[in-house]
Amino acid sequence: MAFERSQRIATQLGLVRIWQWTQDRFALNRIWQHILDRRVAKGAWYFGDGATLFFLFTVLFATGGAMALGYSASPDQAYESIQRITFQDHLGWFIRGLHYWSAGLMVVMLFFHLFRQILVGGYKSPREATWLIGVLLFFGVITMSLLGYILRWDERGIYALRVMLNMAYRVPSIGEYLVTIIQGGREIGAPTLSRIYAAHVIIGPILLVTLIGYHLYLVIVHSVTSPTERKRPVASGAEQKAVYKQDAQSVERGEDFFPDTAAKSGLMALLIFILAIALTFVFGGGQLYSPANLHESSYPMEEWWWSWFSSLAAWLPPSFANLFYVGFPLTVFALLVLLPFLERTPYRGIRNRPIATLFVVSCVVGLFGLSSLRIQSNWTAWPSDTPPPVPVGLTLPPNAEKGRLLFAEFGCNSCHAIDGHGPSFAPDLAALPHTMSHRELRNYILQPPTGIAMPAYVGRLTEEQLSQLVDFVLVVQISRR
């Protein structure tokens, strides 16, 4: 009754005609028909990872656009402009924080999406092109996730830039040329920041928008892996189309894209969005370190979504470094591009593809394992002025106490821990696997065996100092046995 009445009022006001005109002139019917009102095969809720990526991209686009209004891409103003955005501008902290956390989560979701497609065989015919565009998007987003924090022009940013330049420098024969191209000149300076800005704020987003559009268009044309495809072998693109059509039309294996699929995918996007907002509120509007400089003593680290790469780099034997820094990204790119043409078995879905499952599981374990190793960073030695504390319940004899101070003065504590206090680069001297005599320890300090990463102290310590140092180590050692 009420509906009919409002319909009559709408007609009288001419609203119906306006709506019909809008539908016709803006071709809304066609958009509705081609994008939303489709029968598609049923997917699980976690098929929403693609929608989540799309959503995160729009968040990054909007927050990035907002920040571009306040950011200044000049080396003497960039840092201050970020400070202004974060601490002065209205809701700047929220915009920047959301951009930062959405970026990190987008990298995570990117790996999730990539791994899931490898698991189900999402690259198989007829979806090869969808996959190839996806590979480009993968590398595009990964690159953006590095360029973005260089723009902060703080210490972390500038050393991320230097890491990138040092990797480029290793490319055979054109390394130096590549570096000057990225830098925009003979050294890091104003043109460098302009280039990073242009790449992150103008060229990158345009390329990503184009590629995402094409990727989604191909997803509509070739669809996503359907339930039946995942259950039984599907040999060709033509067979897939037939199988898919049946699935989409059936009641139990198909659904309407709008609202069924949209709701499910949207749910996952919403959960990740809430996570990004929560992280922004808990950890604030994104970190900012000391202003960019190349002369102060500093301890820069990569952003958390790159931790795994740092651990990998730390393990490299020197002879392998050149090959790895240039070869690793290229190999990953080549393998991903070639994957649909190398792996052509008719099996799709997780259950029938043990090798893919094994591969993805080891990648995930590897990424998490490497990232957690980075928290410890056992490979890093670092100077400290503070001598190790006297172990609890122990009174040091005067000689050993002097040795404890020498332990810091001569930088022993840069590498060695005593009783758990200090870096873990070199063995904890309170817990050596085998005991050394006073004389053995003395000789070891003066001239460590070849192949041991320890400087020789011959000529640097007096006999008395040497004896005090050895006393300290031995006293602590004995007390711990």
């Binding site: 130096e176 190349l294 050149n322 930088g411």
Partner: protein, 156 residues
């Protein structure tokens, strides 16, 4: 059909030419760069200010044209070994360019990133670095220590 083929050729060819006219100059602009030629000497400071035998941090001004901002200066380590010999190390780790810090106690250079450690001569002791620390060419002019910016890679 003749006309159709001619039009196809015209449209495709015309687009390609237009694309080339814009794209090629844009690509050349983007990919051209100033080459480093010859030497570029910069003052560090009076040589007498560097204590004999010690390895001390110092700064080198890279771009004198630029407006004042922090990144103009690069950190270096100066080791006045003897009155005759001075070694100037870059602070950039030879692995991926993180800033090494000299520890006067152990006389080692430590990299904060991936475990690179160098001895006082700049030789690798541990970690992934595959070459010794970069050394700037240096000279003394009228008692002033100078280094050649072009004697190390451009990103340093």
């Amino acid at each position: 059909m003749e006309r159709r083929n001619a039009l196809i050729a015209l449209v495709c060819g015309g687009s390609a030419i237009a694309g080339g006219v814009v794209g090629v100059p844009a690509a050349i602009y983007a990919l051209s760069t100033t080459k480093r030629e010859g030497q570029l000497w910069r003052d560090i400071g009076p040589v007498e200010e560097f204590e004999l035998g010690r390895i001390v941090p110092a700064k080198v001004q890279r771009d004198t044209q630029a407006t004042k901002h922090q990144v103009v200066e690069a950190g270096i380590y100066v080791w006045r070994k003897t009155t005759e010999e001075i070694i100037v190390f870059s602070r950039s780790c030879t692995d991926l360019g993180c800033p090494v810090t000299f520890d006067a106690g152990s006389r080692c250079f430590f990299c904060p990133c991936h475990g690179g450690i160098f001895d006082q001569h700049g030789e690798r002791m541990a970690g992934p670095p595959d070459r010794p620390l970069y050394r700037y060419a240096n000279r003394i002019q009228l008692g002033i220590l100078q280094v050649d910016l072009h004697s190390v890679p451009p990103m340093i």
